[in-house]
């Protein structure tokens, strides 16, 4: 069974999804960071495929992507790294990236390779819903890959329902108008929005992303969804002092307020 699906069957709250850019800070760090996160009790790893023009990301993630590309990261290397990771880890693993990368690799070939190396799901923020439905819905079912679409405070209800019907895995609830890493804290209008979404009683679980950076924002997000996604804040932490495992540990402990680790 798909690792993401089974996670959400097992666990319904406080799910922590951590994003990081593959190949950052160093080309071969992917492996160590993933295992480090697993060791800290993270639930899902969202691996960013570094891209030259990441429209939907903020400067921190863009910068990490540029570094990764300079380090020599390619999709082939990334798939090999995931293959190796899968020898040691059964953590749910999502690939996040831009659709141009998929097209240029060859769309079918790309998704099949995902499956083969042990990727569980995809987030492709610029893949249009109708293109997915028309071209890939069936394929994803066959390959047992999940797809997570985003919703925002501006997404109308009818579209949320449509997204809910196509999403497998979880719905990515964009917390605000701000691109990843752009703002701090959670505003009242966001709470209203979370409540509105909850009231819709969607069939998919939800993870809240964008602007989740610390224990406080993580906790609030978890009140209104099954869990949350942390991206920029973790990338920033990776650039800090200490050894890689130390940095990871310190960051995740902070999010979970220590006592939760290994719980």
């Amino acid at each position: 069974m798909n690792r993401i699906k089974s996670l959400f069957e097992r666990k319904h709250s406080n799910i922590l999804n951590v994003y990081f850019t593959a190949g950052y800070p160093n080309l071969e760090d992917t492996f160590e960071i993933a295992l480090g996160l697993e060791g800290c009790g993270v639930d899902i790893i969202e691996l960013g495929m570094p891209y030259s023009d990441p429209l939907a990301d903020g400067p921190t993630i863009q910068e990490s992507g540029s570094r990764a590309l300079k380090n020599g990261m390619t999709l082939d290397i990334l798939f090999t790294q995931i293959e190796k990771l899968r020898e040691q880890s059964e953590l749910p693993l999502i690939l996040m990236g831009y659709f141009n990368q998929v097209m240029q690799y060859g769309d079918k070939k790309f998704f099949e390779r995902c499956k083969a190396v042990g990727v569980d799901g995809l987030i492709l923020p610029d893949l249009p819903l109708h293109v997915f439905e028309r071209d890939y819905h069936q394929l994803f079912k066959e390959l047992e890959l999940t797809i997570s679409f985003l919703i925002t405070p501006q997404t109308p209800d009818s579209r949320i329902r449509k997204i809910d019907s196509l999403t497998t895995g979880f719905i990515y609830v964009v917390s605000s108008y701000a691109i990843t890493g752009a703002k701090k804290g959670i505003q009242p209008y966001q709470i209203d929005y979370f409540k509105r979404i909850n009231a819709m009683e969607l069939s998919n679980p939800k993870l809240i992303g964008f602007g989740i950076s610390d224990h406080k924002t993580f906790t609030i997000a978890c009140e209104y969804a099954e869990g949350a996604i942390i991206g920029s804040a973790f990338i920033k932490a990776l650039g800090g002092l200490g050894s890689l495992p130390e940095r990871i540990n310190a960051f995740i402990s902070n999010i979970k307020m220590k006592e939760e680790i290994n719980s």
């Binding site: 023009d53 999709l75 141009n100 998929v102």
Partner: protein
């Protein structure tokens, strides 16, 4: 004047595609605004009141119609009949303002209070800052820091007009990156902000909408040619293509008239295969950039390649989806022109006609050197802009070449 789409093989379809190019590949954060635009743009821009205001501003503010000028000395130089469509005479000095006038009227009707734009050569930035001043609306322009340096006069103009110019420091620090930053701004400010894209690029409906606003160019060409040569149809229309808005406007009313050759001129920088080029139609493969499926310069791994051209307005790794379609179907011919060839054309046009063209435009003029044509042909070059913004580049080029 612009008209609703006629039945045409070269018009956008319901999903925003020209053949296999176009569409709307955007993150959800942009969906609401783009979708709202898509649903409403035709209704809004063909409203009587909109058309009245649009035409009035084009006439009384922008200075349209722009002349279609028979370039006598260029004609005898090239041994054919050359007509220059004088978009350089528009207020602000290029075709860009046709589009920004349209979009500011649209933004007002959408109730937007804040305008963002990207700019390469700065002409679109100036044209946007201009219409924002005209309407008293806040204006933020993103511009690559490389372009800020090489198009300094336009940066000063934007500031004079009250716009805020924000440097884009990522990637090649040029047009592509400025566009990324503008899109991010829009994502962060979806409620009060309208994004005025400066070319026929971006997600549907932008390419079609911008082409419609620019179509006034070929609309005027038709009656002007009729008046001057007795026929609406030239033998060829040449235009430079950065994103492709001036070309789209110059081709628009001739798209279905296969007797009229359409020539799209791209920047080959230091040479098409020099590694420093922006010749998308040769070097590009199908991909997605700024929300649109189109020809795109990219690596095997789907990373967008940083383009190069001496000209800041052609320094873009993609082309508008309409142009990908026109080139793919053979409706348009693509020609690539190097920096040096373009500079020669700058001097030629300045000395022969007393018109200093924009560096972008010079690429279109240079294309004549590479085309086959007859003595009796009537060829229209879309003179997309004036070269004032490029004087620094020209003078430096002269100095560098005197040292050789």
């Amino acid at each position: 004047m612009i008209h609703p789409a006629t039945n045409s093989a070269y018009q956008v379809d319901d999903l925003g595609f020209y053949g296999e190019f176009g569409g709307s590949y955007i993150p959800e954060m942009l969906y609401h605004n783009v979708e709202y635009l898509r649903k409403n743009y035709l209704n809004i821009i063909y409203e009587d009141q909109f058309q009245k205001e649009f035409k009035d501003l084009l006439k009384n503010y922008v200075g349209r119609p722009t002349p279609l000028y028979f370039a006598k000395r260029l004609s005898s130089h090239f041994g054919t009949n050359i007509w220059l469509k004088r978009e350089d005479l528009n207020h602000t000095g290029a075709h860009k303002v046709n589009n920004t006038i349209g979009q500011i009227l649209l933004a007002q009707r959408l109730g937007k209070k804040r305008i963002i734009a990207e700019t390469g050569a700065g002409q679109h930035g100036v044209a946007t800052a201009t219409v924002c001043a005209l309407k008293g609306i806040e204006c933020i322009v993103y511009m690559g820091s490389v372009d800020i340096e090489r198009q300094a006069p336009n940066v000063s103009r934007m500031k004079m007009l009250g716009a805020k110019v924000i440097p884009a420091e990522s990637g090649s620090k040029t047009l592509k990156d400025a566009t990324n930053e503008a899109i991010r701004d829009w994502i962060n400010n979806p409620e009060d902000t309208h994004y005025i894209i400066g070319s026929v690029v971006g997600p549907h409906p932008y390419p079609d909408m911008v082409a419609r606003f620019q179509s006034v160019i070929s609309e005027e060409m038709k009656w002007q040619l009729k008046e001057q040569i007795g026929s609406e149809n030239p033998d060829a229309i040449i235009a430079c293509v950065g994103g492709g808005s001036n070309a789209a406007g110059a081709y628009y009313h001739y798209l279905d008239n296969e007797n009229v050759r359409l020539v799209a001129v791209e920047a080959a920088g230091l040479g098409i295969h020099s590694g420093e080029s922006a010749a998308t139609s040769v070097l590009g493969t199908k991909g997605i950039i700024h929300g649109s499926r189109t020809l795109l310069m990219q690596t095997e791994d789907g990373q967008i390649i940083e383009p190069y051209s001496l000209s800041a307005g052609l320094d873009y790794p993609g082309i508008g989806p309409l142009h990908s379609h026109l080139i793919q179907t053979g409706r348009a011919e693509a020609i690539s022109i190097t920096d040096d060839e373009a500079m020669d054309a700058v001097f030629l046009c300045s000395r022969k006609e007393g018109i200093i063209p924009a560096l972008e435009t010079a690429h279109a003029i240079a294309a004549l050197e590479k085309m086959i044509y007859k003595d009796s042909d009537h060829i229209v070059i879309n003179l997309s802009g004036r070269g004032d913004k490029d004087l620094g580049t020209f003078i430096k080029y002269i100095a560098d070449h005197e040292q050789d």
